[in-house]
Amino acid sequence: MAEFIDLVLLAMLALTALRIIFLKDLFAVVMLFGIYSFLSALIFLNLDAVDVAFTEASVGAGISTVLMLVTLAITGRKEKQSTHSSLLPLFVVLVTGAALIYGTLDMPPFGHPDNPVHQHVAPRYIEESPKEVGLPNMVTSVLASYRGFDTLGETVVVFSAVIGVLSLLGVRRKKKKDLESGLESHRVLHVVAKIIIPLVILFALYVQFHGDFGPGGGFQAGVIAAAAFILYALILGLPKAFAVVGPRFLQWMAAAGVLLYASVGLYSMYMGGHFLDYNQLATDPVAGQHYGIIIIELGVGVTVFAVMLNIFYAFGSQAERSNVQ
Amino acid sequence: MNLWQALEPAQLITLSICVPFVGALLVIATGKVPNLREAVTLITAAILLSLVLAITDYTFLGTTLELDVVELFPGLGISFNVEPLGVLFALVASFLWIVTSIYAIGYMRGHNEINQTRFFCCFALSISSVMGICFSGNLLTLFIFYEVLTLSTYPLVTHAGNDAAKQGGRIYLGILLSTSIAFLLFAILGTYALTGTLDFRAGGIFDDSHNKVVLSVLLVLFCYGVGKAAIMPFHRWLPAAMVAPTPVSALLHAVAVVKAGVFSILKIIIYIFGIEGLKDLVTTDVMLYIGAATIVLSSCIAMTKDNLKARLAYSTVSQLSYIVVGALLASSIASAGAALHIATHAVGKITLFFCAGAIMVASHKKNISDMAGLGRKMPITFAAFAIGAISIIGLPPMAGTWSKWYLAIGALETDKFIIVAVLMVSSLLNIAYLLPIPIKAFFSKPAEGAEPWRWSQTKEAPLPILVALTVTSGCCLAMFFYLQPLVDLVNLIPGVSTK
C-alpha cells in the first residue's frame, strides 16, 4: 500500500515538475512549486520521515512560497521568451541524469532492511539513543545531540541568510500614517485573525517543547510562530507588526538564539567536556542531555522565528514600497 | 693591490654585491643634490673596483672563496663561489663602471636628461646583479641575478618614457623574461631533476649515465634561455634596447648585460656540461652553426643601418656570437679565446658607444650619413672611434687581435674550417661597416644642406666624456701589449688553456 501511495505521489510530482518547466506564468509556477513542496512533504510522510515532512510543509510550501510571491509582486509575473538555445542545458541535464541513472544500478534496493545504511551507524541511534539521550524521538536525539554541531551550523546558516537579506533589502521603519497598508476593510479577516493567531502561537510552543516526543522541534516551531506574525503583518500592515516586534529587536533575537545555542557548548567545555557535550550539564548524563536539547532547541526556535519574520519584513517593506510607487 | 686584507676573504663577495646596492640606496637618498649623488656613484664604483681587485688577488693565490647565503630549497640555495672566469668578468664590469660613471655624468648633464636619480640608482642595481652573476656558485643563483639584472635594466631602457621607449622596453622585457622563464628556468629545472644538483663544478655535473638526447635538448634550451646572449632569432631585444640613453647602451648593452649572457653560456658549458661532455652532444654543432650564422647575418644587417647606435647594436649581436661559438667549439683554446673576448670586445665596443654618445651630445647627430666631415670638428672622438673599430675588427695593435686569434686557432684545432671562414668573412664585414665611419668623418666634406650656423658651433663633447673615451681607447691599445694578467687568469679556468 505504501508503495502504491508513493508511486501515485511520485507521478503527481513528475507532472507538476513538467508543468513548471513549460509554464510562463510565474504566479502559476510559484503556486505549482508550493504544490510540489506539499506533495514531497506527503512523500516524506509516507517514507516515515515525519519531522522532515513537517519541515518541508512549513518551509517549502509555506515560507518559500510566500517569499516567492512577494518577490513576484515586485518583479512581475510573466516570464519572457528565452532567446538562447535550450539545447545545451538539455544536453547537460541528459548527461547528468544518465550519470545518476548509471549510479542507481549498484544501489541497494529500495526499502530493504539489509541495506548498508541500516547496518552501520544508524543501529546505534535506534537502539541506544533512547537510553543514552533519553528521548523517544530519535530524530531529535540525533539532530540535537549526536549531530548537534550540524544543527549549530544550520542555525548559523539561517542567521547568515538574515544577514544577507538585511544587507540587500534593509527594513525601512515607517510612520504609521505614511501609508495605508494591511487589509483595513476586511473586517472578517481581522476578527478571524485575532482568534487564530494566539492559537497558532500556542501550537508553535507545543511543537517547540513537544519535539522531544513527537515530530517537531525548534525549527518547525520557529517557522510556525513566524507564520503567525506574518499573518498579523499581512492583515494589519507592517507598521503595526513593527510595533509588536520591531526589526531591530528581531536582529537581536536572531543573534541571541545562536548565542544561546553556542553558550551551551561553551558551558559544557567549561564543565570539562567537549564542545556541545550535554552529559556535562547535569550530574546525571541523561538529564544533562535533556537540558541541553531543550536549551538548544529553544535557541534554534528563537533564531528561526526571528530570522523568518525579519526576512518577511524586509521583503514586505520592499513590496509596499513598490506598491506606493 | 689588496686594500681589504683585514676582511674575511669570503666577505668580499658579500661586499662586492652589497656595495653597489648600498650605492643605489644612497643615490636615492642624495637624489636632491646632483653633485653629491654623482660623487656617491663614483666612490661606490671605486670601492667596488678595489674589492674586485682584492678578489682577483685571492684567485691568483689559489684561495677558494665560497659563501652560502640562504637555503631556498632543501640543499639548494643562493651560494657564491669565486672562479677565474667570473673574476675576469667582474674585473671588466667593475673597471668599466667607473669609466662609464664619469662618462654618464657628462652625458646626462650635457643632454639634460630627466629622472637622473632613477637612472643612477638602477645603474648601480644592475652592477650589483652583475656581480651576483659573476660570483654565482650554482645555476639557481645565476638565474636569480640574471632576472634581477633584466628587471633593474628595464627602467633604464624605458628611461625616455615616450612611446618609442615603451615599445623598446616591451620588446626588451618580453624577450628576455620569456626566454629566461620558458627556456632557461626549464633547463635549470630539468638539470635539477636529472642530477639533483645545480652547483657549478669543474668538468660539469653530467656524466655518461644521462641520456644524451635529453642533454642535447637541454643545451639548446640553455643557449636560447640565456636570451641576453642574443643568438638569432632571439636578438631583437638588443637593437630595441638602443632607445636607452647612451651610457646605458655603452655599459649595459655592450658590456654588462650582453656579457652576462655570453658569460652565463660560457659558464654553463664549462661548469655544467664540461667542455669534454659537450663533444658528444648532437646539438653542439647545430648551435655552433646557428652562432656562426648569427655572426654573418647580423654583420650584414649592421651594414644596412644608418643609425649609428643601431649599427653598433647589430655589431654587438655579431660579436656576442663569437663568444658563443668559441664556447661551443668545445676546445680549450677556443674557450680561452671566448673568455678573453669578453674583455677585449668590452673595451672596444664601449669606446665605440662612448663616441656615439659624444657625437650625439655635441652635434645631436644620430645618423652616419650626417657625420661626414665631423671628424675635423671632433678629432679626439673620431680618433677614439677608429681605435675602437680596429680593435673590434681584430687588427693589431689592438686588444681584439688576441681573442680572435685564439678563437681561430681553436677552430682550426677542431677542424671546423667553416668557422674559420666565418671568422674571416666577419672580420671583412666589420671593416666594411665600421671603418668607413671615421674615414668619412675625417676625409669627407659635410653634406649639402647641413645647417651652417649649427655646424660652426659644433665642438668636442664635454670633458668627462672625452676623459672616458680616451681611457677606454687607451685600454684597447694597452691590452694588446699587456694582456698577460688576463691570459693567466683565463688559464686558471679548469679545462681552459691558451696553449
Partner: protein, 110 residues
C-alpha cells in the same frame, strides 16, 4: 464490520464525492466567483465529512482530539479564506459573469 465502520465509510464516500465535484467545478465553471464557490465546497463540506469519517475510525484518544482541533481550525479558516479571496476580487474590480454580459446579449441568449 460494525456499525461505526459503515457510517464512517458512507461519510468518507460522500466526502470524496464532494471533493471530486468541487475539483470538477473548479475546472469547468466559467469565471472566478463560480469557481471559488466550487472550491469552497471542497474545503468546507468535503473536509468536514472526511474528518468526521476519520473521527469514527479512532478509538477516542489523543488522535480524536487532534482531529477535532483540525476540524475546528478548518471550519474557521477556509470560509474566511474564500471570503477574503472573493472580497479582494470584488475590491480589485473583478465583475461577475452576469455583470460582464451586456443586457441585450443576455436577452438574445434566452
Amino acid at each position: 464490520m460494525d456499525f461505526l465502520d459503515i457510517v464512517s465509510s458512507i461519510l468518507l464516500l460522500a466526502g470524496v464525492f464532494f471533493g471530486f465535484s468541487g475539483a470538477v467545478g473548479l475546472f469547468r465553471f466559467p469565471d472566478f466567483f463560480t469557481r471559488i464557490h466550487a472550491a469552497s465546497v471542497t474545503d468546507s463540506i468535503a473536509a468536514i465529512l472526511i474528518i468526521g469519517a476519520l473521527l469514527l475510525q479512532t478509538s477516542f484518544d489523543l488522535n480524536t482530539a487532534k482531529l477535532v482541533f483540525i476540524l475546528l481550525f478548518l471550519m474557521v479558516t477556509s470560509p474566511t479564506a474564500s471570503h477574503a479571496l472573493a472580497k479582494s476580487a470584488r475590491h480589485g474590480g473583478l465583475l461577475t459573469l452576469a455583470e460582464t454580459r451586456p443586457q441585450d446579449k443576455q436577452g438574445s441568449a434566452k
